[in-house]
Amino acid sequence: MTQQEVLQEYLLRLADSDMILGQRLSELTGKAPAVEEELAVMNVALDLVGQARNWYEYAAELINDGRDADKLVFLRDAHEYRNLLMVEQPNDDYAVTMARQFFFDVWHYFTLKSLVNASDERVATIAAKAVKEATYHLRRSSEWVKRMGDGTEESHRRIQDAFNLLWRFTGELITPDEVDHAMFKAGIGPDPEQIKQDWFGMVREVAAQATLTVGEEDAWMYMGGKRGEHTEHLGHILAVMQFLPRAYPDATTW
């Protein structure tokens, strides 16, 4: 891969992860546990899809094969998606929704914080705006993890179950592959070792405050999203999300 191809790949990972998590959250419309949460969930979803659009637009410019941001979203099949497996997991109960959000937010926050200093100016600019949103997302999901963990017996059980259920998808967040290494070397991506430390530091701290236990660092981890090998969920997400552009290929405006 050329340096630019690596960057394209990396941008798609950021974009696709934002997009798919935004999509999952939007499935909750009218189904959140309180009106305040309707507002908050949609707010986070909106931020994420907005960030996704920024990353897609930059990726589309680099890819430069005639596809715009919309085409990247609506006309790629599952194996072409590069999102983390974590974000495609179903909403399940609100503990799973929130644990998924929290694990992601910690990764997202530290990643964006580092990308603010990227040698690539466009990346730095997008990240600078995004990190403000991600800071709020992380504060919110951390608070909820603590409320659930240190709330009632039932909420403690549920959020602990959710942590256990999703733990196997955390490895992918902090295990670098050749793209991550290359992006770090290029002065764009974060230091993988630092991300890992920061991620564990924050997760363990919040979990401790929430009276929750976290899984082992060397537990078996399910990975593959970053190279396009997903869980069975993604295909179903895309079937819904992409229906209109695929069903009406001649439509150029909506």
Partner: protein, 313 residues
């Protein structure tokens, strides 16, 4: 009339806003609670027909717009529940009434959203009809409600323009299939939108008192006519039609004439026999029931945090 009542009515007549701490007749309070809670419920239930398409929005731009609109609606729900609570009503109790089928919400949300153009038509027609009501309600006599309306109206107008733009873009630059979607959406939503203004004035027994109290400021039929008069030119600009053979401009009246509303359908839907009544309520009820443990956790955590802070102090 008691002295308080007289005093109250004089204030209302003088267009002085009634505030939460002011004395008010029981009937006024009850009517307002009913009306504001219905309005709040409508914002929340109204998210569901949009939720049906937010996962299928066809472009990033449209998806972001729809998400922002849904977020606004949740916000409106919150303001309105707050305005209602200034009257001493309890949000949870009022929501319980909704789930028990004892409280109403706008019947329009009992119709399904069947194609993407519905997201445009809902914005244009449904928000449009709501605005006609709400613009007048900005001058309603109860202060907190009036102020909520001012804020809500601004956002609703934005939604309405956005909805209209969706339709306009499809009519101007769309394929035949997309144009057909637009016409189909209008065909399905036109009559239900007209029903949003409620029964004819002579069938609307509580309206009279509400007018005196200036909770209501124009009659159902007046508002409906206003809506039609402002909407038909926009319809023509789209190049679409409405499913009403009797619709035509009446030079003499200076208004559009229009056909009879199917009142049987109106009352059917009101009684629960609309296409989606069961599903809408079931979805809302499930959300709140399934979310009970989440809300309880937040309360328990807050209590623990307070206890800890008290101990530390």
């Amino acid at each position: 009339m008691s002295p308080e009542e007289r005093d109250f009515q004089e204030k209302v007549d003088a267009e002085t806003k009634i505030e939460a701490k002011n004395w008010m007749p029981d009937g006024y309070r009850k009517t307002l609670i009913r009306q504001i809670s219905q309005h709040a419920h409508s914002e929340i239930v109204g998210m569901l027909p949009e939720g049906n398409w937010v996962t299928r929005a066809p472009t990033l731009k449209r998806k972001l717009q729809l998400m922002a609109k849904i977020q606004d609606e949740a916000g409106h729900g919150l303001y309105l529940y707050s305005a209602m609570e200034t009257l001493g009503a309890d949000r949870d109790e009022e929501i319980q009434k909704l789930h028990d089928g004892k409280a109403k919400y706008s019947s329009i949300f009992n119709y399904p959203t069947l194609n993407w153009a519905d997201m445009g038509a809902v914005g244009w027609l449904v928000d449009g009809a709501a605005i006609v009501n709400q613009v007048v309600l900005q001058r309603t006599s109860y202060g907190p409600y009036s102020r909520a309306m001012v804020r809500i109206c601004k956002e609703e107008s934005f939604h309405q323009r956005q909805g209209y733009q969706i339709l306009l873009d499809m009519m101007r630059e769309g394929t035949q299939e997309q144009k057909d979607m637009v016409q189909d959406a209008i065909n399905r939503l036109w009559w239900p939108a007209l029903m949003m203004f409620g029964p004819h004035d002579d069938e609307s027994p509580n309206s009279q008192q509400s007018m005196v109290w200036k909770i209501k400021r124009k009659s159902n039929d007046e508002l409906r006519q206003m809506f039609i008069d402002q909407t038909i030119p926009q319809l023509e600009f789209l190049g679409c039609t409405v499913p009403d053979p009797d619709l035509k401009w009446n030079e003499e009246r200076g208004h559009y004439d229009f056909g009879d509303i199917n009142w049987k359908e109106f009352y059917d839907v009101l009684k629960g026999n609309g296409p989606c009544n069961r599903e809408r309520i079931a979805t809302r009820k499930k959300a709140i029931d399934d979310g009970a443990w989440v809300r309880e956790a937040a309360v328990a955590y807050a209590a623990k945090q307070k206890q800890r802070a008290d101990k530390a102090a």
